[in-house]
Symmetry: C2
């Protein structure tokens, strides 16, 4: 039960949501118990790595038995902060913003989307996916009156930095950035999480290019 939380590497942190997702799936399938080796096999990780990862946070298993799926899922959810009642606002209710409002289950990640902000008259005033779309002029006021943990950037790239600064000034702890540009807030300890679609596609582009190179030149027969 040792807790040696001090400085968990980002490599480990990025795996936690995957664990959570896989455990949720296992629970849905009715699996009650799982060993590190079985979980590793299904996730493409080594049993050692899973035990080492979990060891960063404490002992959640039972020797000779493995891990109780529901309990481990619960613990990892707790580590991720799912039960902290986090809140978010979105700025930019264009196509992508609306898609997230309508489809993305904020609740599954422990978030509540309080409102979206936009400038377009045909969008302001509507309610999408349960959240109201307000005029962006009211952003500062809203942030002052509500505890908002995360600001979601789905504005056009050119507006990203300035809107981000308004969110940071308003006191958000994190920025979830969907614009293809970089945003940065020096002097602030706000956490920025980027979702760069084009980085993702270019990585895929590289990998399929390699593949066809290998085929063409007859290398790597395996």
């Amino acid at each position: 039960m040792t807790k040696r939380n001090s400085k968990v590497s980002t490599a480990v942190i990025r795996r936690l949501p995957r664990y959570y997702r896989h455990l949720t799936e296992l629970q849905r399938k009715g699996v009650v118990r799982i060993s590190s080796s079985a979980l590793g096999k299904s996730m493409g990780l080594t049993a050692s790595q899973i035990r080492q990862d979990l060891f960063c946070f404490g002992g959640f298993g039972q020797q000779g038995y493995g891990y109780k799926v529901d309990l481990l899922r619960e613990e990892i959810g707790e580590i991720l902060g799912i039960s902290r009642g986090h809140t978010a606002v979105m700025v930019g209710a264009g196509n992508l913003g609306r898609a997230l409002m309508e489809n993305f289950e904020f609740g599954s990640s422990g978030f509540r989307l309080l409102a979206a902000f936009d400038v377009r008259p045909d969008t302001v005033g509507r309610t999408i996916g349960g959240a109201p779309v307000l005029h962006v002029d009211g952003l500062e006021d809203f942030l002052a009156k509500n505890q908002v943990d995360v600001g979601l950037l789905t504005v056009p790239r050119c507006a990203a930095q300035s809107v981000g600064e308004r969110l940071v000034a308003g006191g958000v702890a994190g920025i979830w950035n969907f614009t293809n540009g970089e945003v940065s807030f020096p002097g602030s300890d706000v956490v920025v999480e980027n979702v760069h679609f084009s980085d993702s596609l270019l990585t895929l582009s590289y990998m399929i290019s390699q593949r066809s190179d290998a085929q063409t030149s007859g290398k790597e027969p395996q």
Copy 2:
């Protein structure tokens, strides 16, 4: 000019799109030349790491001078496969799919979106962002008649695996998966690139939770 391409680590590969993005931005600003240390400072990397990364692919710089921005950008673009004329089809023209069709610049990553596929009668037949929406029944036929490199999964999670299998059977080299679930194609050498929104948000959730813990307990005054 040594090329020692053999087995470039994924850590390096994932940084290439970032280099490309930053160099594009520098070029747009009219910067002609940059040193590894200046680029490192602006990207939050060490000069050493940048030179080491580029060394995987060859010598693109000039001693005593640095790197020509346009040339380095061009070279990295080439490595990423941007000029290979990659093609893609999308399956699932719901909110998210439409948002990508209308907003995402496939061309900037060297891709052409040939078509989207859906089942809804009010969507099939339309043209969105320059690409036609066809009925998913015609997917196999389309894949047989066109060279398609990447299949884009924007269907509901429950359909992801089966639609993915149809794309793989049709011969795509890569799957760009936007569904929140996992897809896998054992026995195939297709490359899967996941965009897991919830993993991203949960990572952010963890990081802001840590931040508030530190504040509350007075730890890490820094």
